[in-house]
Protein backbone atom coordinates (compact mmCIF):
# COMPACT_ATOMS: atom_id res chain seq x y z
CA UNK A 1 0.00 0.00 0.00
CA UNK A 2 1.40 3.34 -1.04
CA UNK A 3 1.62 6.01 1.60
CA UNK A 4 2.41 9.35 0.02
CA UNK A 5 2.24 11.44 3.18
CA UNK A 6 4.28 9.19 5.46
CA UNK A 7 7.67 10.61 6.42
CA UNK A 8 10.10 7.70 6.82
CA UNK A 9 12.98 7.73 9.27
CA UNK A 10 16.26 6.99 7.53
CA UNK A 11 18.34 5.71 10.45
CA UNK A 12 21.84 5.86 8.98
CA UNK A 13 21.83 9.37 7.48
CA UNK A 14 20.05 10.60 10.60
CA UNK A 15 22.63 9.01 12.86
CA UNK A 16 25.43 10.44 10.70
CA UNK A 17 24.13 13.99 10.89
CA UNK A 18 23.45 13.76 14.62
CA UNK A 19 26.95 12.37 15.23
CA UNK A 20 28.50 15.17 13.17
CA UNK A 21 26.53 17.77 15.11
CA UNK A 22 27.52 16.17 18.40
CA UNK A 23 31.20 16.31 17.44
CA UNK A 24 31.09 19.91 16.21
CA UNK A 25 32.18 21.54 19.52
CA UNK A 26 35.17 19.18 19.68
CA UNK A 27 36.15 20.12 16.15
CA UNK A 28 35.82 23.83 16.96
CA UNK A 29 38.01 23.38 20.03
CA UNK A 30 40.61 21.45 18.06
CA UNK A 31 40.70 24.16 15.42
CA UNK A 32 41.02 26.79 18.12
CA UNK A 33 37.79 28.52 17.02
CA UNK A 34 35.54 28.39 20.09
CA UNK A 35 33.55 31.29 18.68
CA UNK A 36 31.97 28.89 16.23
CA UNK A 37 30.24 26.99 19.02
CA UNK A 38 28.16 30.05 19.85
CA UNK A 39 27.50 30.66 16.18
CA UNK A 40 26.44 27.05 15.69
CA UNK A 41 24.12 27.31 18.69
CA UNK A 42 22.48 30.33 17.12
CA UNK A 43 22.04 28.33 13.90
CA UNK A 44 20.40 25.48 15.85
CA UNK A 45 17.96 27.87 17.51
CA UNK A 46 17.06 29.47 14.19
CA UNK A 47 16.65 25.97 12.78
CA UNK A 48 14.04 25.34 15.49
CA UNK A 49 12.24 28.61 14.72
CA UNK A 50 12.30 28.12 10.94
CA UNK A 51 11.09 24.54 11.40
CA UNK A 52 8.07 25.81 13.31
CA UNK A 53 7.31 28.24 10.48
CA UNK A 54 7.72 25.42 7.97
CA UNK A 55 4.99 23.53 9.82
CA UNK A 56 2.68 26.47 9.12
CA UNK A 57 3.72 27.36 5.58
CA UNK A 58 4.86 24.05 4.17
CA UNK A 59 2.43 21.65 5.79
CA UNK A 60 -0.52 23.83 6.75
CA UNK A 61 -0.57 26.29 3.85
CA UNK A 62 -0.73 29.10 6.43
CA UNK A 63 1.64 31.71 5.05
CA UNK A 64 2.25 33.60 8.26
CA UNK A 65 4.20 36.82 7.82
CA UNK A 66 4.35 37.53 11.52
CA UNK A 67 6.27 34.65 12.99
CA UNK A 68 8.88 36.95 14.55
CA UNK A 69 6.22 38.18 16.98
CA UNK A 70 6.07 34.77 18.66
CA UNK A 71 9.86 34.61 18.83
CA UNK A 72 9.74 38.01 20.46
CA UNK A 73 7.04 36.93 22.92
CA UNK A 74 9.25 34.08 24.13
CA UNK A 75 12.39 36.20 24.25
CA UNK A 76 10.81 39.04 26.23
CA UNK A 77 9.14 36.55 28.58
CA UNK A 78 12.58 35.27 29.56
CA UNK A 79 14.10 38.75 29.65
CA UNK A 80 11.32 39.92 31.99
CA UNK A 81 11.29 36.89 34.28
CA UNK A 82 15.04 36.61 34.87
CA UNK A 83 15.50 40.00 36.51
CA UNK A 84 12.40 39.16 38.59
CA UNK A 85 14.35 36.34 40.14
CA UNK A 86 13.49 33.32 38.02
CA UNK A 87 16.83 31.71 37.21
CA UNK A 88 16.02 28.15 36.22
CA UNK A 89 15.82 27.27 32.55
CA UNK A 90 13.31 24.60 33.57
CA UNK A 91 10.91 27.45 34.33
CA UNK A 92 12.12 30.11 31.92
CA UNK A 93 12.02 28.06 28.73
CA UNK A 94 8.55 26.63 29.35
CA UNK A 95 7.47 30.19 30.09
CA UNK A 96 8.89 31.28 26.72
CA UNK A 97 7.03 28.42 25.09
CA UNK A 98 3.78 29.41 26.77
CA UNK A 99 4.25 33.07 25.83
CA UNK A 100 4.66 32.10 22.19
CA UNK A 101 1.68 29.75 22.34
CA UNK A 102 -0.55 32.27 24.08
CA UNK A 103 0.24 35.07 21.66
CA UNK A 104 -0.18 32.68 18.73
CA UNK A 105 -3.59 31.71 20.06
CA UNK A 106 -4.72 35.35 20.09
CA UNK A 107 -3.30 36.14 16.65
CA UNK A 108 -4.43 32.84 15.14
CA UNK A 109 -7.96 33.01 16.51
CA UNK A 110 -8.51 36.20 14.51
CA UNK A 111 -6.20 35.70 11.51
CA UNK A 112 -7.30 32.18 10.67
CA UNK A 113 -10.78 33.47 9.85
CA UNK A 114 -9.20 34.80 6.66
CA UNK A 115 -7.38 33.09 3.83
CA UNK A 116 -4.77 33.86 1.20
CA UNK A 117 -3.35 37.36 0.93
CA UNK A 118 -5.60 38.59 3.75
CA UNK A 119 -4.04 36.06 6.09
CA UNK A 120 -0.54 37.17 5.12
CA UNK A 121 -1.45 40.80 5.70
CA UNK A 122 -3.27 40.33 9.00
CA UNK A 123 -0.45 38.27 10.53
CA UNK A 124 2.00 40.96 9.41
CA UNK A 125 -0.21 43.63 10.96
CA UNK A 126 -0.39 41.82 14.30
CA UNK A 127 3.38 41.35 14.34
CA UNK A 128 4.03 45.00 13.57
CA UNK A 129 1.64 46.03 16.32
CA UNK A 130 3.64 43.89 18.73
CA UNK A 131 6.87 45.43 17.40
CA UNK A 132 5.68 49.00 17.96
CA UNK A 133 4.25 48.08 21.33
CA UNK A 134 7.62 46.74 22.50
CA UNK A 135 9.36 49.75 21.00
CA UNK A 136 7.18 52.14 22.99
CA UNK A 137 7.20 50.37 26.35
CA UNK A 138 9.85 51.64 28.75
CA UNK A 139 9.45 48.52 30.92
CA UNK A 140 10.59 46.46 27.93
CA UNK A 141 13.59 48.70 27.38
CA UNK A 142 12.12 50.53 24.36
CA UNK A 143 14.59 50.53 21.50
CA UNK A 144 17.53 49.63 23.73
CA UNK A 145 15.98 46.30 24.61
CA UNK A 146 16.84 44.32 27.71
CA UNK A 147 20.07 42.73 28.81
CA UNK A 148 20.66 39.80 31.10
CA UNK A 149 23.64 39.51 33.41
CA UNK A 150 23.69 35.75 33.33
CA UNK A 151 22.50 32.73 31.41
CA UNK A 152 19.72 30.67 33.03
CA UNK A 153 20.77 27.67 35.08
CA UNK A 154 19.87 24.17 34.03
CA UNK A 155 20.25 22.07 37.14
CA UNK A 156 23.49 20.10 37.14
CA UNK A 157 24.92 21.45 33.91
CA UNK A 158 26.26 24.95 33.46
CA UNK A 159 24.74 26.84 30.53
CA UNK A 160 27.39 29.54 30.93
CA UNK A 161 29.69 27.09 29.22
CA UNK A 162 29.08 27.55 25.50
CA UNK A 163 29.48 23.86 24.75
CA UNK A 164 26.82 22.90 27.29
CA UNK A 165 24.42 25.43 25.84
CA UNK A 166 25.13 24.06 22.38
CA UNK A 167 24.17 20.54 23.45
CA UNK A 168 21.02 21.78 25.16
CA UNK A 169 19.95 23.57 21.97
CA UNK A 170 20.81 20.53 19.89
CA UNK A 171 18.72 18.26 22.13
CA UNK A 172 15.76 20.63 21.89
CA UNK A 173 16.01 20.89 18.08
CA UNK A 174 16.21 17.12 17.68
CA UNK A 175 13.26 16.63 20.01
CA UNK A 176 11.27 19.21 18.06
CA UNK A 177 12.04 17.56 14.72
CA UNK A 178 11.16 14.13 16.08
CA UNK A 179 7.94 15.53 17.52
CA UNK A 180 7.07 17.18 14.24
CA UNK A 181 7.60 13.92 12.38
CA UNK A 182 5.29 12.10 14.79
CA UNK A 183 2.68 14.84 14.45
CA UNK A 184 2.83 14.83 10.64
CA UNK A 185 2.56 11.04 10.43
CA UNK A 186 -0.42 11.04 12.79
CA UNK A 187 -3.99 11.59 11.58
CA UNK A 188 -3.66 15.25 12.60
CA UNK A 189 -0.76 15.67 10.17
CA UNK A 190 -2.73 14.10 7.34
CA UNK A 191 -5.65 16.39 8.08
CA UNK A 192 -3.31 19.39 8.11
CA UNK A 193 -1.92 18.56 4.68
CA UNK A 194 -5.43 17.96 3.38
CA UNK A 195 -6.39 21.44 4.55
CA UNK A 196 -3.35 22.86 2.79
CA UNK A 197 -4.39 21.22 -0.49
CA UNK A 198 -8.17 21.70 -0.41
CA UNK A 199 -9.65 23.32 2.66
CA UNK A 200 -13.23 23.55 1.41
CA UNK A 201 -13.36 19.87 0.61
CA UNK A 202 -11.92 19.05 4.02
CA UNK A 203 -14.85 20.84 5.64
CA UNK A 204 -17.19 18.96 3.33
CA UNK A 205 -15.89 15.62 4.60
CA UNK A 206 -16.26 16.59 8.23
CA UNK A 207 -13.05 18.27 9.40
CA UNK A 208 -13.24 21.21 11.78
CA UNK A 209 -10.62 23.01 9.71
CA UNK A 210 -10.54 26.24 11.69
CA UNK A 211 -9.93 24.45 14.95
CA UNK A 212 -7.25 22.19 13.47
CA UNK A 213 -5.42 25.13 11.93
CA UNK A 214 -5.59 27.07 15.19
CA UNK A 215 -4.17 24.09 17.08
CA UNK A 216 -1.21 23.85 14.70
CA UNK A 217 -0.76 27.63 14.72
CA UNK A 218 -0.46 27.52 18.50
CA UNK A 219 2.01 24.61 18.36
CA UNK A 220 4.17 26.54 15.90
CA UNK A 221 3.89 29.68 18.05
CA UNK A 222 5.00 27.68 21.08
CA UNK A 223 8.10 26.38 19.29
CA UNK A 224 8.91 29.88 18.04
CA UNK A 225 8.49 31.26 21.56
CA UNK A 226 10.85 28.63 22.90
CA UNK A 227 13.30 29.59 20.17
CA UNK A 228 13.06 33.22 21.27
CA UNK A 229 13.68 32.21 24.88
CA UNK A 230 16.75 30.26 23.82
CA UNK A 231 18.08 33.17 21.76
CA UNK A 232 17.91 35.66 24.62
CA UNK A 233 19.40 33.09 27.00
CA UNK A 234 22.29 32.59 24.62
CA UNK A 235 22.97 36.21 23.73
CA UNK A 236 22.06 37.79 27.05
CA UNK A 237 20.21 40.56 25.27
CA UNK A 238 17.06 41.18 23.27
CA UNK A 239 15.92 44.19 21.27
CA UNK A 240 12.71 45.09 19.47
CA UNK A 241 14.32 44.28 16.13
CA UNK A 242 13.78 40.62 16.93
CA UNK A 243 10.08 41.30 16.33
CA UNK A 244 10.42 43.44 13.22
CA UNK A 245 8.89 42.29 9.96
CA UNK A 246 12.33 41.84 8.43
CA UNK A 247 12.87 39.00 10.90
CA UNK A 248 9.61 37.39 9.81
CA UNK A 249 10.76 37.78 6.22
CA UNK A 250 14.13 36.23 7.01
CA UNK A 251 12.40 33.21 8.56
CA UNK A 252 10.24 32.85 5.45
CA UNK A 253 13.34 32.98 3.27
CA UNK A 254 14.87 30.21 5.36
CA UNK A 255 11.80 28.03 4.81
CA UNK A 256 11.77 28.66 1.06
CA UNK A 257 15.53 28.07 0.73
CA UNK A 258 15.44 24.86 2.74
CA UNK A 259 12.23 23.53 1.26
CA UNK A 260 8.69 24.28 2.40
CA UNK A 261 6.79 21.12 3.21
CA UNK A 262 9.92 19.08 3.87
CA UNK A 263 10.61 17.89 7.39
CA UNK A 264 14.15 19.32 7.37
CA UNK A 265 13.30 22.31 5.17
CA UNK A 266 13.33 24.89 7.94
CA UNK A 267 16.51 23.57 9.54
CA UNK A 268 18.43 23.38 6.27
CA UNK A 269 17.29 26.86 5.29
CA UNK A 270 18.45 28.28 8.60
CA UNK A 271 21.87 26.65 8.20
CA UNK A 272 22.23 27.84 4.61
CA UNK A 273 21.15 31.41 5.23
CA UNK A 274 23.14 31.97 8.41
CA UNK A 275 26.29 30.28 7.10
CA UNK A 276 26.16 32.27 3.86
CA UNK A 277 25.56 35.44 5.84
CA UNK A 278 28.46 34.66 8.16
CA UNK A 279 30.77 33.83 5.28
CA UNK A 280 29.98 36.83 3.10
CA UNK A 281 29.15 39.51 5.64
CA UNK A 282 32.78 40.10 6.52
CA UNK A 283 33.69 40.66 2.87
CA UNK A 284 30.83 42.84 1.71
CA UNK A 285 27.97 44.78 3.20
CA UNK A 286 25.93 43.79 0.16
CA UNK A 287 25.41 40.23 1.39
CA UNK A 288 21.61 40.55 1.26
CA UNK A 289 22.03 40.91 -2.49
CA UNK A 290 23.72 37.51 -2.62
CA UNK A 291 20.91 35.99 -0.57
CA UNK A 292 18.44 37.57 -2.99
CA UNK A 293 20.11 35.98 -6.00
CA UNK A 294 20.25 32.59 -4.25
CA UNK A 295 16.58 32.90 -3.32
CA UNK A 296 15.64 33.74 -6.89
CA UNK A 297 17.59 30.74 -8.17
CA UNK A 298 15.92 28.44 -5.66
CA UNK A 299 12.42 29.63 -6.52
CA UNK A 300 13.09 29.29 -10.25
CA UNK A 301 15.13 26.09 -10.41
CA UNK A 302 14.50 24.19 -7.17
CA UNK A 303 11.01 25.08 -5.98
CA UNK A 304 11.24 22.45 -3.28
CA UNK A 305 14.33 24.05 -1.88
CA UNK A 306 17.57 22.50 -0.75
CA UNK A 307 15.94 19.40 0.72
CA UNK A 308 14.07 18.88 -2.56
CA UNK A 309 17.38 18.91 -4.43
CA UNK A 310 18.92 16.43 -2.04
CA UNK A 311 15.94 14.14 -2.34
CA UNK A 312 16.10 14.21 -6.13
CA UNK A 313 19.71 13.05 -6.09
CA UNK A 314 19.07 10.36 -3.50
Amino acid sequence: MRDTLYIPLRPWPTLGVVAALALLPLAAATLGQPFYVVFATRVLIYALIATSLNLLIGYGGMVSFGHAAFVGAGAYAVAMLMPAGVASAWLLWPAALLAGAGFAFLVGAVSLRTRGVYFIMITLAFAQMAYYLVLSLRVLGSDDGLTLSNRPSLGLVDLNRDTTFYYAALAILLAALAGMRVLLNAPLGRALQGIRDNETRMEAIGFATYRLKLLVFVIAGAAAGLGGGLLVSLNGLVGPNLLNWTQSGLLMIMVILGGAGRLLGGALGAVLLLVVEEAIAEHTIHWPLVIGVVLLAVVLFAPQGLSGLMRRRA
Partner: protein
Amino acid sequence: MTMLRVGGLQKHFGGVLAVDDVDLELAEGELHAVIGPNGAGKTTLIHLLSGALKADAGVIVLDGRDVTRLAMHRRVRLGLARSYQITSVFPNITVLENLALAVQGASGRDDRDRARTELGAVGLGARADDLAGALAHGERRRLELGLALATGARLLLLDEPMAGMGPEEAARIVDLLSALKRKRTILLVEHDMDAVFRLADRITTLVDGRVIASGAPEEIRRHPEVRRAYLGEEAPQ
Protein backbone atom coordinates in the same frame (compact mmCIF):
# COMPACT_ATOMS: atom_id res chain seq x y z
CA MET B 1 -39.46 8.52 8.83
CA THR B 2 -38.45 11.90 7.49
CA MET B 3 -34.72 12.23 6.83
CA LEU B 4 -34.73 15.84 5.69
CA ARG B 5 -37.30 18.55 6.08
CA VAL B 6 -36.74 21.98 4.58
CA GLY B 7 -39.16 24.82 5.18
CA GLY B 8 -39.28 28.31 3.69
CA LEU B 9 -35.64 28.24 2.64
CA GLN B 10 -34.42 31.51 1.16
CA LYS B 11 -31.18 32.93 -0.15
CA HIS B 12 -30.51 36.05 -2.11
CA PHE B 13 -27.37 37.39 -3.70
CA GLY B 14 -27.75 41.15 -3.88
CA GLY B 15 -31.15 41.70 -5.42
CA VAL B 16 -31.45 38.22 -6.90
CA LEU B 17 -33.43 35.58 -5.08
CA ALA B 18 -31.48 32.41 -5.87
CA VAL B 19 -33.59 30.20 -3.62
CA ASP B 20 -37.09 31.48 -2.95
CA ASP B 21 -39.21 29.97 -0.21
CA VAL B 22 -38.34 26.33 -0.93
CA ASP B 23 -40.07 23.52 0.95
CA LEU B 24 -38.77 20.00 0.59
CA GLU B 25 -39.20 16.70 2.35
CA LEU B 26 -37.17 13.54 1.90
CA ALA B 27 -38.28 10.27 3.46
CA GLU B 28 -35.61 7.90 4.71
CA GLY B 29 -34.26 5.80 1.85
CA GLU B 30 -35.82 8.00 -0.80
CA LEU B 31 -33.99 9.10 -3.93
CA HIS B 32 -35.25 12.57 -4.61
CA ALA B 33 -34.16 14.36 -7.77
CA VAL B 34 -34.07 18.12 -8.16
CA ILE B 35 -34.23 19.28 -11.75
CA GLY B 36 -34.54 22.62 -13.46
CA PRO B 37 -32.88 24.86 -16.03
CA ASN B 38 -29.43 26.37 -15.48
CA GLY B 39 -29.55 29.12 -12.87
CA ALA B 40 -32.65 27.68 -11.22
CA GLY B 41 -30.87 27.57 -7.85
CA LYS B 42 -30.13 23.85 -7.66
CA THR B 43 -26.49 24.21 -6.66
CA THR B 44 -27.34 27.06 -4.29
CA LEU B 45 -29.85 24.74 -2.66
CA ILE B 46 -27.10 22.16 -2.13
CA HIS B 47 -24.80 24.87 -0.74
CA LEU B 48 -27.51 25.83 1.75
CA LEU B 49 -28.35 22.28 2.78
CA SER B 50 -24.69 21.32 3.21
CA GLY B 51 -23.82 24.47 5.14
CA ALA B 52 -21.42 25.98 2.61
CA LEU B 53 -23.77 28.97 2.53
CA LYS B 54 -25.94 30.34 5.31
CA ALA B 55 -29.64 30.65 4.57
CA ASP B 56 -31.29 34.07 4.86
CA ALA B 57 -34.49 32.46 6.12
CA GLY B 58 -36.02 29.05 6.62
CA VAL B 59 -35.23 25.89 8.52
CA ILE B 60 -33.31 22.73 7.67
CA VAL B 61 -34.13 19.72 9.83
CA LEU B 62 -31.96 16.63 9.48
CA ASP B 63 -33.41 13.51 11.02
CA GLY B 64 -35.39 15.51 13.56
CA ARG B 65 -32.57 17.88 14.38
CA ASP B 66 -32.44 21.55 13.39
CA VAL B 67 -29.13 22.05 11.55
CA THR B 68 -29.92 25.43 9.97
CA ARG B 69 -27.16 27.24 11.87
CA LEU B 70 -24.60 24.44 12.04
CA ALA B 71 -21.25 24.63 10.25
CA MET B 72 -20.62 22.31 7.32
CA HIS B 73 -18.35 19.91 9.21
CA ARG B 74 -20.88 19.56 12.04
CA ARG B 75 -23.56 18.54 9.54
CA VAL B 76 -21.20 15.94 8.06
CA ARG B 77 -20.71 14.45 11.50
CA LEU B 78 -24.49 14.27 11.85
CA GLY B 79 -24.69 12.29 8.63
CA LEU B 80 -25.15 14.79 5.81
CA ALA B 81 -22.50 14.91 3.07
CA ARG B 82 -22.34 16.43 -0.38
CA SER B 83 -20.46 15.98 -3.62
CA TYR B 84 -19.39 18.74 -5.97
CA GLN B 85 -20.38 19.55 -9.51
CA ILE B 86 -16.79 20.56 -10.22
CA THR B 87 -14.61 17.67 -9.08
CA SER B 88 -12.88 18.54 -5.82
CA VAL B 89 -10.53 15.78 -4.74
CA PHE B 90 -6.98 15.70 -3.36
CA PRO B 91 -4.81 15.24 -6.45
CA ASN B 92 -1.42 14.80 -4.73
CA ILE B 93 -2.28 11.76 -2.64
CA THR B 94 -3.44 8.30 -3.70
CA VAL B 95 -7.03 7.34 -4.38
CA LEU B 96 -7.11 5.20 -1.24
CA GLU B 97 -5.65 8.03 0.84
CA ASN B 98 -8.39 10.32 -0.48
CA LEU B 99 -11.04 7.98 0.82
CA ALA B 100 -9.18 7.37 4.08
CA LEU B 101 -9.23 11.13 4.63
CA ALA B 102 -13.01 11.19 4.17
CA VAL B 103 -13.39 8.28 6.61
CA GLN B 104 -11.20 10.14 9.08
CA GLY B 105 -13.10 13.39 8.62
CA ALA B 106 -16.41 11.93 9.64
CA SER B 107 -15.28 9.36 12.22
CA GLY B 108 -12.04 10.87 13.53
CA ARG B 109 -10.13 7.67 12.80
CA ASP B 110 -7.73 6.78 10.00
CA ASP B 111 -9.39 3.47 9.06
CA ARG B 112 -7.81 2.05 5.89
CA ASP B 113 -10.00 -1.04 5.83
CA ARG B 114 -13.14 1.00 5.66
CA ALA B 115 -11.55 3.24 3.02
CA ARG B 116 -10.81 0.13 0.98
CA THR B 117 -14.44 -0.98 1.22
CA GLU B 118 -15.59 2.41 -0.08
CA LEU B 119 -13.01 2.14 -2.85
CA GLY B 120 -14.65 -1.05 -4.04
CA ALA B 121 -18.09 0.52 -3.81
CA VAL B 122 -17.19 3.16 -6.41
CA GLY B 123 -15.31 0.66 -8.59
CA LEU B 124 -11.84 2.12 -8.12
CA GLY B 125 -10.24 -0.91 -6.43
CA ALA B 126 -7.66 -1.24 -9.19
CA ARG B 127 -6.55 2.39 -8.80
CA ALA B 128 -6.04 2.34 -5.02
CA ASP B 129 -2.36 3.29 -5.15
CA ASP B 130 -2.51 5.74 -8.05
CA LEU B 131 -2.42 9.45 -7.41
CA ALA B 132 -5.90 10.94 -7.63
CA GLY B 133 -4.53 13.55 -10.03
CA ALA B 134 -3.71 10.77 -12.51
CA LEU B 135 -7.29 9.53 -12.84
CA ALA B 136 -9.38 9.90 -15.99
CA HIS B 137 -12.40 12.21 -15.85
CA GLY B 138 -14.94 9.45 -15.24
CA GLU B 139 -12.82 7.92 -12.50
CA ARG B 140 -12.36 11.28 -10.84
CA ARG B 141 -16.12 11.76 -10.83
CA ARG B 142 -16.50 8.39 -9.11
CA LEU B 143 -13.85 9.35 -6.56
CA GLU B 144 -15.73 12.60 -6.00
CA LEU B 145 -18.83 10.53 -5.24
CA GLY B 146 -16.73 8.14 -3.13
CA LEU B 147 -15.53 10.98 -0.87
CA ALA B 148 -19.13 11.78 0.04
CA LEU B 149 -19.95 8.08 0.48
CA ALA B 150 -16.89 7.41 2.65
CA THR B 151 -18.10 9.88 5.27
CA GLY B 152 -20.76 7.27 6.00
CA ALA B 153 -23.46 9.92 5.55
CA ARG B 154 -27.07 8.74 5.66
CA LEU B 155 -28.12 11.67 3.51
CA LEU B 156 -26.16 12.41 0.34
CA LEU B 157 -26.50 15.61 -1.67
CA LEU B 158 -25.14 14.84 -5.12
CA ASP B 159 -24.50 17.78 -7.42
CA GLU B 160 -24.55 16.52 -11.01
CA PRO B 161 -22.55 13.32 -10.50
CA MET B 162 -22.73 12.64 -14.24
CA ALA B 163 -21.47 16.04 -15.36
CA GLY B 164 -19.30 15.82 -18.47
CA MET B 165 -19.57 12.04 -18.78
CA GLY B 166 -20.02 9.88 -21.83
CA PRO B 167 -22.94 7.45 -21.98
CA GLU B 168 -20.89 4.47 -20.73
CA GLU B 169 -19.53 6.26 -17.69
CA ALA B 170 -22.97 7.75 -16.98
CA ALA B 171 -24.46 4.25 -17.05
CA ARG B 172 -21.92 3.17 -14.43
CA ILE B 173 -23.03 6.00 -12.16
CA VAL B 174 -26.67 5.01 -12.66
CA ASP B 175 -25.78 1.45 -11.61
CA LEU B 176 -23.86 2.77 -8.65
CA LEU B 177 -26.74 4.96 -7.50
CA SER B 178 -29.23 2.11 -8.02
CA ALA B 179 -27.12 0.00 -5.70
CA LEU B 180 -27.14 2.80 -3.11
CA LYS B 181 -30.91 3.28 -3.27
CA ARG B 182 -32.75 2.42 -0.06
CA LYS B 183 -29.42 2.15 1.79
CA ARG B 184 -28.97 5.89 1.82
CA THR B 185 -31.24 8.86 1.34
CA ILE B 186 -30.18 10.78 -1.74
CA LEU B 187 -30.91 14.22 -3.06
CA LEU B 188 -29.80 14.16 -6.68
CA VAL B 189 -29.29 17.24 -8.83
CA GLU B 190 -28.81 16.09 -12.41
CA HIS B 191 -29.35 17.21 -15.99
CA ASP B 192 -29.35 13.71 -17.46
CA MET B 193 -33.13 13.17 -17.67
CA ASP B 194 -32.87 9.49 -18.60
CA ALA B 195 -30.96 8.88 -15.39
CA VAL B 196 -33.28 11.05 -13.31
CA PHE B 197 -36.45 9.33 -14.49
CA ARG B 198 -34.91 5.92 -14.10
CA LEU B 199 -33.65 6.50 -10.54
CA ALA B 200 -35.90 8.98 -8.78
CA ASP B 201 -38.73 8.10 -6.43
CA ARG B 202 -39.83 11.70 -6.50
CA ILE B 203 -38.80 14.76 -8.44
CA THR B 204 -38.85 18.42 -7.53
CA THR B 205 -38.62 21.01 -10.29
CA LEU B 206 -36.99 24.31 -9.53
CA VAL B 207 -37.33 27.37 -11.76
CA ASP B 208 -35.93 30.77 -10.79
CA GLY B 209 -35.38 29.55 -7.24
CA ARG B 210 -39.00 28.44 -6.75
CA VAL B 211 -40.50 24.98 -6.61
CA ILE B 212 -42.96 24.79 -9.49
CA ALA B 213 -43.78 21.12 -9.12
CA SER B 214 -42.97 18.21 -6.87
CA GLY B 215 -44.16 14.64 -7.11
CA ALA B 216 -43.75 11.20 -8.61
CA PRO B 217 -41.82 10.96 -11.92
CA GLU B 218 -45.05 10.30 -13.85
CA GLU B 219 -46.68 13.46 -12.50
CA ILE B 220 -43.62 15.54 -13.29
CA ARG B 221 -43.38 14.14 -16.79
CA ARG B 222 -46.94 15.21 -17.53
CA HIS B 223 -46.88 18.48 -15.61
CA PRO B 224 -47.61 21.26 -18.13
CA GLU B 225 -45.55 23.93 -16.38
CA VAL B 226 -42.52 21.64 -16.07
CA ARG B 227 -42.75 20.75 -19.75
CA ARG B 228 -42.94 24.39 -20.71
CA ALA B 229 -40.15 25.59 -18.41
CA TYR B 230 -37.68 22.77 -18.67
CA LEU B 231 -38.40 19.38 -20.17
CA GLY B 232 -39.75 20.62 -23.49
CA GLU B 233 -41.36 18.13 -25.77
CA GLU B 234 -38.49 15.67 -25.87
CA ALA B 235 -39.06 14.45 -22.32
CA PRO B 236 -38.47 10.71 -22.05
CA GLN B 237 -41.73 8.85 -22.47
